[in-house]
């Protein structure tokens, strides 16, 4: 079977491909940073 001869299969595989790219980007860069620089509470 040639994928090029089955456009629907090609489309679905392409969709999975894009989903994998987006999912990979989310996993690499998606985690938020809820930390903050340390606060010196007293400075007098």
């Amino acid at each position: 079977m040639q994928i090029s001869s089955r456009p629907i299969v090609h489309l679905i595989l392409l969709a999975f491909y894009y989903l994998a790219i987006i999912a990979g980007l989310v996993l690499l860069y998606g985690e938020g940073d809820f930390t903050n620089p340390p606060f010196v509470y007293q400075d007098f």
């Binding site: 969709a15 809820f34 903050n36 606060f39």
Partner: protein, 403 residues
């Protein structure tokens, strides 16, 4: 009979159009699947937080302060009362509210939210992020006199991009209020250094011109997208918190507090802990700049930007229909007298506080009748002692059960 040749042709044309742009179509499909997954993840995340909130309620968790999910879960529970404070929350003093109400003695528990350095400008962003969730809900906010002499020292350290985004792009707040908040946020440029969208939006709001307002409105979808991404990150981080905190919820243990006996017990402990130190202080006194003279005290109190922020906070609570109780620590009169700061100067703080909150008719307990009580606070930063906490607990209990 069956498909007409014209319909068949139409379907073939539409399908051909879709298949003529396979990358676009595939990309669109992937985006739809991703959005659906994100929505499902967020919904499941909120459900999990709701199921776990009673065992997390009394804990001091950074995610509770910096995020939205856990606070939202607390507001949705009838027998949980959010309590916004600052450094007094993480000092292990007897009768601290989160400990006193841990076992739901009078039918509810406290959910402490806050970190050292928290003040009104941070709290209002935190509450704005809850939006309509606050309508008709009770909450407690503590006010520490010292913050009315120190202008936002903790702001950059405790700033939350998630809360700030939710605030600046909130459709629950009036345009005028968003503008005022943006102006205040811009006085802390360090917090917006790495937040180009927030900085740009705040400047557009600040200028109060039709063209700038239009630019801001065009930005709103982008702001909502940023909020959605940050909110998903909050859900992810909350998931980690739920995994790390598995201890079971406290079993409710109803009891009727004997307030006079508890006050007597707390006072005894404070006297013991103060020992030989004068004025009820349990630690060495730190001489903050505003305590160096009566003139300096009055000057810094008069000029404090915290009053402006408190005004914004009360406007915000009014717009969102929340029902707050404001608790202010009293000043340590005997200690301040010894520094040459008389009652007449201290009264300026109490009077201005009453004046700030009176128009909104919010509940306020400022405990100024304890101004001469050296055992209410235990240090020169106005942190409550055991005695201070038991008075707070009594006020909180009365507030929760009032109509």
């Amino acid at each position: 009979m069956g498909d007409s040749p014209e319909n068949h042709l139409l379907h073939r044309t539409a399908a051909a159009r879709v298949l003529a742009y396979p990358h676009l179509t595939a990309g669109g499909l992937a985006a739809v699947v991703l959005i659906a997954a994100a929505v499902a993840f967020a919904a499941q995340g909120q459900r999990s937080a709701q199921a776990a909130i009673h065992r997390l309620a009394p804990l001091l968790l950074k995610q509770k302060d910096r995020g939205i999910v856990l606070q939202r879960a607390a507001y949705r529970e009838e027998n949980l009362l959010p309590f916004y404070g600052s450094s007094e929350l993480d000092r292990p003093v007897r009768f601290r509210a989160s400990d006193f109400f841990r076992a739901y003695p009078t039918g509810f528990a406290i959910v402490p939210v806050g970190e050292p350095g928290y003040a009104s400008l941070l709290e209002l962003q935190e509450l704005a992020a809850q939006g309509d969730e606050l309508r008709g809900k009770k909450l407690v906010i503590t006010l520490s006199p010292i913050t009315f002499h120190q202008n936002q020292r903790g702001y950059a350290a405790d700033f939350s991009p998630l809360h700030a985004t939710a605030t600046l792009f909130s459709m629950d707040l009036s345009f005028a209020l968003r503008r005022k908040i943006a102006r205040r946020m811009l006085t802390q440029p360090k917090s917006l250094e790495h937040q180009p969208l927030l900085d740009f939006a705040a400047w557009r709001l600040r200028r109060n011109k039709a063209t700038e307002d239009l630019l801001y409105c065009i930005l709103i979808p982008l702001g909502k997208l940023q909020y959605a991404i940050l909110a998903l990150q909050d859900h992810w981080a909350t998931r980690e918190v739920l995994r790390e905190n598995q201890s079971p919820a406290q079993t409710p243990s109803p009891q009727v507090p004997d307030w006079p006996a508890l006050v007597a017990e707390a006072t005894e402990e404070c006297i013991l802990l103060a020992g030989d130190r004068p004025f009820g202080l349990q630690r060495e006194a730190a001489l903050f700049p505003h305590l160096r003279s009566n003139d300096e005290y009055r000057r810094t109190l008069h000029k404090s930007t915290e009053w402006k922020d408190l005004e914004l906070l009360t406007e915000l609570l009014k717009e969102l229909g929340a029902c707050p109780l404001f608790l202010s620590y009293p000043l340590n009169g005997p200690y301040l007298d010894s520094l040459g700061i008389p009652r007449s100067s201290r009264q300026l703080y109490y009077d201005r506080l009453q004046k700030a909150l009176h128009p909104f008719q919010f509940a306020l307990r400022d405990f100024q009748d304890h101004d001469n009580d050296p055992y209410f606070t235990n240090d020169s930063q106005d942190h409550p002692s055991a005695k201070g906490w038991i008075h707070f607990d009594q006020a909180i209990d009365a507030f929760y059960h009032a109509n």
